[in-house]
Subunit: 204 residues, 2 copies
């Protein structure tokens, strides 16, 4: 079961901020897989129960460190309940993480910061990849999945064009316009059957 | 007409390096559109003819600053000569820029550096956008083009997954495998007809 991150709370801001700073160091030093709620508590000099109180679980902590508006896993779960093509919904959910009502700062600023951090330090890229692998790409384990990886390329590229490069007409389009155009690509990738001939990895 | 960049030459390495450093400052300060061969020469304290000698034209200079293995415009021109679907060829050409024989350093390292620079400084993103707009997206001028912008999202996302995040199975796949999977997406975007209903921008 996924415990929702508790989000920002009034008061106790310093402790929460200190835990986030300690978690950022821990994820960078030990990766996502190698970090525990307990090790973050130790770095921050607080009781582990306080880390659970503020962030729920490790994923909630990572979501806070990356300043994501939502846990991507919750997005996946919501989408899984829908019938029919999910691509456009996934694009909308992706954009909502960075520019929706629950996002902080300028629209897309968390995406820009994440891309900067990941391209500046391989350790950050590793932690982010481990997080996405566990929470989004193959939460049930299993072999590498072409479909999930290809979906990730298309979504990340949309964020790059919209928030970093500000390429028109993508930068000024509504989320719905972007979703209508990119959704069919996502659907094609999610439909599977994408293993290249002779490739050693499994697909869908 | 496009003049090919002259590429790296033996000798005179210091002057060439100094011109690249001056050009980097100029593109950041004035954007791609606002930079001239003459303004770069002035910053570097050399005769403009020397800048032309080493880099051919402004695009060649930008290609050198970004450490690209090829001028993207030449790639577009080569592809334009081919009949049939071009998506897979475009993916191969894109990967060749970052990891082909003419690339320098670790495979993909120029892409990582470019993404880091663009996400760290809006001025770099602006210069890169102006360069791509002039040389790749709408070299003949005209209205914003959904197709070109969407192609850019997909290619940039592939670079992100392969070089920055090292997402499997994309990171270890051959260029041909990636091209076979992503090519049809590129073809769909290049085929046009992508303007969302009610959008003010033109397509194609």
């Amino acid at each position: 079961m996924v415990t929702a991150p508790l989000g920002r709370r009034p008061g106790k801001r310093d402790t929460r901020t200190e835990i986030i700073a300690a978690a950022r160091e821990a994820f960078r030093a030990d990766g996502y897989d190698g970090t525990t709620m307990r090790s973050v508590a130790r770095r921050a000099g607080v009781d582990p129960s306080l880390v659970h109180h503020y962030f729920g679980d490790k994923a909630g902590l990572f979501v806070a460190v990356m300043d994501l508006a939502h846990d991507p896993r919750q997005v996946s779960e919501q989408l899984a309940l829908r019938a029919g093509p999910k691509g456009a919904g996934l694009v909308l959910a992706f954009l909502d993480i960075w520019e929706g009502p629950a996002s902080t700062g300028e629209p897309g600023s968390s995406f820009v910061a994440m891309m900067q951090a990941a391209s500046s330090a391989p350790e950050v890229a590793t932690a982010l990849r481990e997080f996405l692998t566990e929470r989004v790409w193959r939460p049930e384990g299993g072999t590498p999945d072409w479909g999930s990886a290809l979906v990730a390329t298309q979504l990340a590229g949309v964020g790059w064009a919209r928030y970093i490069m500000r390429v028109e007409p993508i930068a000024s389009a509504t989320p719905e316009e972007v979703a209508a155009l990119v959704g069919p690509t996502i659907d094609r990738y999610m439909a599977g059957g994408h293993a290249p001939e002779g490739a050693a990895t499994a697909t869908e």
